[in-house]
């Protein structure tokens, strides 16, 4: 019974924790412009994150090593350092975007400018990272994030022409007014948003925090294989809502408020209240995850003590990094830079950084020196190789597409 509860809780928090600011913004933007015609990119991204999260979780459970340990062991200190700078930069960019997302969500409720909210959000994030237990952060925010299910309810209430939506998704039937380069740009962005590298940094380090062993593999797999796809469905629901309500009116999504607009039409004030709660929880949770991930990757590169499983006094360097990056993120946001623009940049650069993270994971998940008998099977390896090609293609294409399309304008 206790185990069943643990599995259920894990799945629920995986669903609630799947969506972050990148998914919220990108899916709504894409839905409003392209309907469900880029939905395949979300599906491909979700399968990819399941595949690699499972590998990184398995390595963490069996060997006790989180992702950045492996990066340095397999790429050496020099290439590993370049990798660290790249991955940490992208994760930090995402961290800024998440804190901005929390502030924007609170602005929706309070009508107080998000700039005034940012310092308080940063303080709250840091206090949680410093004081709260790891499981508390993951469970409470993950469960509150489930409020985003309101998007699925709203889509159902809006009663769209399901056949038409499905047809768009299956045939990649983009609107005539949009060109394929823009379509490709957003496909790469959605792929990057679904597979953001911090998810595996956090997932594998979380496994070490929670002291997984080979016995926990089944629970871990349930979280990944059930929780992540359901979280991915929420992404599709957000895009679907935007497709049904915003696309016919030609409304482009530039703010979080516009992301919530379809929920208002379908479910009224109560729906919006729940959606905004979901925004706050999802972005707040992701802010904690990305903040921790910056600290995790740096500490794992140099070998310093990290983690919430020890008292802060025992992991001074790790907590110093958390303080500094929270301060830095708040400082960046206070320059007045648009958090939505930061979000758009973060998902594109995530796509660029994907191979840095996923290549070493694929190699180590095959190394019996680390995972013993739990090495990748044939199917996992075939899929892993296909995804490695996809990931490299997305990484190479991301910047040129961004330049050519002017960030999709």
């Amino acid at each position: 019974m206790k185990r069943l509860f643990a599995v259920a809780l894990g799945i629920l928090t995986a669903i609630g924790g799947f969506v972050d600011i990148g998914d919220l913004v990108t899916n709504a933007q894409v839905g409003a412009r392209f309907g469900w015609s880029i939905a395949p990119a979300v599906v491909v991204g979700v399968v990819g994150i399941c595949l690699f999260a499972e590998m990184s979780g398995r390595v963490a459970a069996v060997s006790g090593r989180a992702t950045f340990d492996l990066v340095r062991e397999r790429l050496g200190p020099r290439v590993g350092l370049l990798n660290l700078v790249g991955s940490m930069g992208v994760t930090f960019l995402t961290f800024i975007a998440e804190i901005g997302g929390v502030a924007l969500s609170l602005q929706l409720v309070s009508s107080v400018s998000y700039l005034l909210v940012v310092p308080f959000v940063a303080l709250a994030v840091w206090l949680l990272l410093w004081r709260a237990k790891f499981s508390a952060i993951e469970n409470v925010l993950g469960l509150l994030g489930l409020s985003l299910i309101v998007f699925a309810v709203a889509l159902w209430q809006l009663g769209p022409d399901w056949g038409a939506l499905a047809h768009q998704a299956v045939t990649a039937d983009k609107p005539a007014g949009e060109d394929w380069t823009t379509w490709a740009y957003y496909a790469v962005a959605l792929f990057g948003a679904a597979m953001t590298p911090y998810e595996v940094f956090f997932f594998s380090s979380g496994g070490v925090e929670e002291r997984w062993t080979a016995k926990d593999l089944a629970t871990m797999r349930a979280n990944v294989y059930i929780g992540f796809p359901l979280g991915g469905l929420l992404s599709l629901a957000i895009a679907g809502c935007a497709a049904v309500v915003l696309q016919p009116h030609g409304i482009m999504v530039d703010t979080l408020g516009e992301t919530a607009l379809p929920v208002a039409e379908a479910l009224g004030k109560v729906g919006v209240a729940i959606a905004v709660l979901g925004f706050v929880a999802a972005t707040f949770g992701a802010a904690c995850e990305t903040g921790l991930s910056v600290g995790y990757s740096l500490a794992q590169y140099v070998g310093a003590q990290w983690g919430k499983y020890v008292r802060p006094q025992a992991a001074v360097a790790f907590h110093t990094v958390l303080v500094l990056c929270t301060l830095a993120a708040a400082a960046v946001l206070l320059t007045g830079i648009d958090p939505i623009a930061v979000t758009e940049a973060s998902v594109v650069f995530s796509a660029v950084a994907l191979p840095l993270t996923y290549f070493p994971i694929l190699v180590i998940a095959n190394d019996p020196d680390y995972v013993g008998e739990h090495v990748n099977g044939r199917i996992t390896n075939t899929l892993g190789t296909v995804y490695l090609v996809l990931i490299v293609l997305a990484a190479v294409a991301a910047i040129p597409l961004m330049v050519v399309t002017g960030m999709g304008r």
Partner: protein, 228 residues
């Protein structure tokens, strides 16, 4: 050597760069100590090269990343006598090696500064990357150093692995036949197909110049097999 020989991977033949270097070190209670930033080798009186300790910290890591960065690090506090000296963990404190290095003791005090300027001591990374010439002809670089435990002598360097170096030599595919996925394995093995192994007794090492001269028989690395 040490009365208690370390267990795990250290109890049998291993490749120091692939299996030991850059791994996480944790103490007897699981607290994280640092990374194996370098490995200390000691020349014994009978000419054996023995793995004697782990080197940790900026003074072991920075020289591997950039000499200039290390010079700046030392110059940042020239008043400290130990500013250029890495922390050292004696191999007798190591309990076992698997995916990480586990110590027998708690971390407090486990890694004092290494004794400086000892002519008998060398670093593994002084050997890795060294240019190799076989019977006078240039043929690749040292990509790994193989060691095996010997009774009464500890962990002794037995062979050098020589290859073209560069990308992929730390992935393990050149030394483990069964590792997938197939496409990566084939690519990496192709890149490193000319790698070979030579007994340390046939090698003359120029530590300051970073060069190794070998002679006599050698065997291809691809003929090797891993026992796990």
């Amino acid at each position: 050597m040490s009365p208690a020989t370390p267990g795990g991977r250290l109890g049998r033949e291993l490749d120091l760069a692939l299996h030991l270097l850059d791994r996480q070190v944790e103490d007897a209670e699981g607290a994280l100590v640092g990374k194996v930033d370098d490995v200390e080798l000691t020349r014994s009186e009978d000419g054996r090269l023995v793995v004697s300790g782990l080197l940790l910290g900026a003074n072991a890591l920075l020289p591997r990343i950039s000499r200039r960065a290390h010079e700046l690090w030392v110059a940042s506090a020239p008043q400290r006598p130990g500013q250029h000296v890495p922390d050292r963990i004696d191999l007798s404190l190591v309990d076992r090696l698997d995916s990480g290095v586990r110590l027998r003791t708690r971390r407090a005090g486990a890694a004092p500064p290494a004794p400086a300027l000892d002519p008998d001591r060398a670093r593994l990374t002084g050997l890795l990357g060294a240019r190799v010439s076989h019977e006078g002809e240039r043929d690749g670089r040292v990509i790994d150093v193989r060691a095996r435990p010997e009774v009464d002598h500890g962990l002794v360097v037995s062979e050098l692995v020589v290859g073209r170096g560069g990308a992929g030599s730390l992935l393990g595919y050149d030394r483990n036949r069964d590792m997938g996925p197939w496409a990566i394995a084939a690519l990496v093995r192709r890149l490193h197909r000319g790698s070979w192994v030579v007994d340390i007794g046939q090698c003359a090492v120029d530590w300051t110049g970073g060069a190794v001269a070998t002679r006599g028989p050698r065997r291809p690395l691809s003929g090797d097999h891993e026992d796990d």
